[in-house]
């Protein structure tokens, strides 16, 4: 599964159960995030034991995008069968500020920095 546009790329690597979000995700909410929501829903439905969300190349994310990722984390938490790892980058300041909130939504979530 892959969604690729000029500014961003979201894809799922099934063998490693890793979702990669890359580039700049600043869509206008409304319907624009729908294909990504569908991809995320698909992954959650497959219920792999661990899902890794790799954000290390995600330079920008607007608040609608934060909302999208938060909703996904809550969805995964509600399944109760999936562990989750979120990989962030030390070099992208917004991640340092905002990703810790995901742990408040899902305390067992593991945040890894590289």
């Amino acid at each position: 599964m892959e969604i690729k546009k000029d500014d961003y790329r979201v894809c799922y690597d099934q063998p490693t159960a890793t979702i990669y979000c890359q580039g700049s995700l600043r869509l206008s909410g409304m319907n624009e995030y729908a294909p990504i929501v569908e991809l995320l829903n698909n992954v959650a439905e497959q219920e792999p034991p661990v899902i890794t969300l790799n954000l290390t190349d995600l330079e920008f994310l607007n608040s609608s995008g934060i909302s999208l990722i938060s909703k996904f984390v809550i969805q995964v938490r509600q399944k109760q069968t999936i562990n989750m790892i979120v990989k962030g980058s030390n070099n992208i300041p917004w991640q340092k500020k905002s990703l810790k909130n995901l742990q408040r939504l899902m305390p067992s979530l593991i945040l890894e920095w590289e």
């Binding site: 869509l27 920008f60 607007n62 608040s63 934060i66 909302s67 509600q78 300041p93 917004w94 909130n101």
Partner: protein, 194 residues
């Protein structure tokens, strides 16, 4: 009529160093103009780094530059997205965004028209925001959103992240500048401490 909410400096006068962008109302639909928000925010953030020079002798200066750039880009983009979403497209008044660099903070000011249909909801939201602990409100809003199918993008999360993640101060001024037809202009002020 003028109404003020939150941390708003009413008699604010711009310092020497400021940058102002104006966007005139246009016939190009919002969706096609959307990418301009990010482009403008990045430009403003990049422009501002000139005033925070990096020094090879002190690597922390580059880190600081990077942090300020990222924060300005995030906040300016959110403010522009809101202004574009809320402004009344039938009105001739432009949307403006201004960055003002002060000794201890950066002040963001956006102005846009707002239709009288949505202004009451917006004020109610601002009052809820002012009365809440931003950290709690952040989590509550996200949990609430996960329960009901709220369309992403109408979350009001932008302001909460500015308060909670960036420790910014937020204020609003509503001015009725014309009656019949009624024209309301909202000025949003965000203060980011340095």
């Amino acid at each position: 009529m003028t109404q003020i909410f939150g941390d708003f400096i009413d008699n604010f006068s711009s310092s020497e160093e400021y940058l102002l962008l104006r966007f005139s109302p246009t016939s190009v639909p919002l969706k096609q103009r959307w990418r301009n928000n990010g482009l403008s925010a990045d430009f403003m953030a990049d422009y501002l780094t000139t005033f925070f020079p990096g020094s090879e002798e002190d690597p922390s200066t580059f880190e600081r530059q990077n942090e300020i750039k990222s924060a300005v880009s995030y906040i300016a983009n959110e403010l522009l997205e809101n202004a574009m979403k809320f402004s009344d497209e039938n009105m001739p008044q432009p949307i403006t965004i201004q960055l003002d660099l002060q000794a201890d903070k950066i002040i963001f000011l956006t102005t846009n028209t707002i239709s009288s249909q949505v202004v009451a909801d917006f004020k109610a939201y601002i009052q809820e925001l002012s009365a809440s602990d931003p950290s709690e409100m952040y989590i509550q809003q996200l949990e609430k959103q996960a329960e009901v199918e709220t369309p992403i993008g109408n979350s009001g999360l932008g302001y909460v992240t500015m308060l909670n993640d960036y420790m910014a101060k937020l204020g609003w001024k509503f001015e009725t500048v014309q009656t019949e037809p009624e024209v309301i202009i909202v000025t949003t002020m965000v203060q980011l401490m340095l």
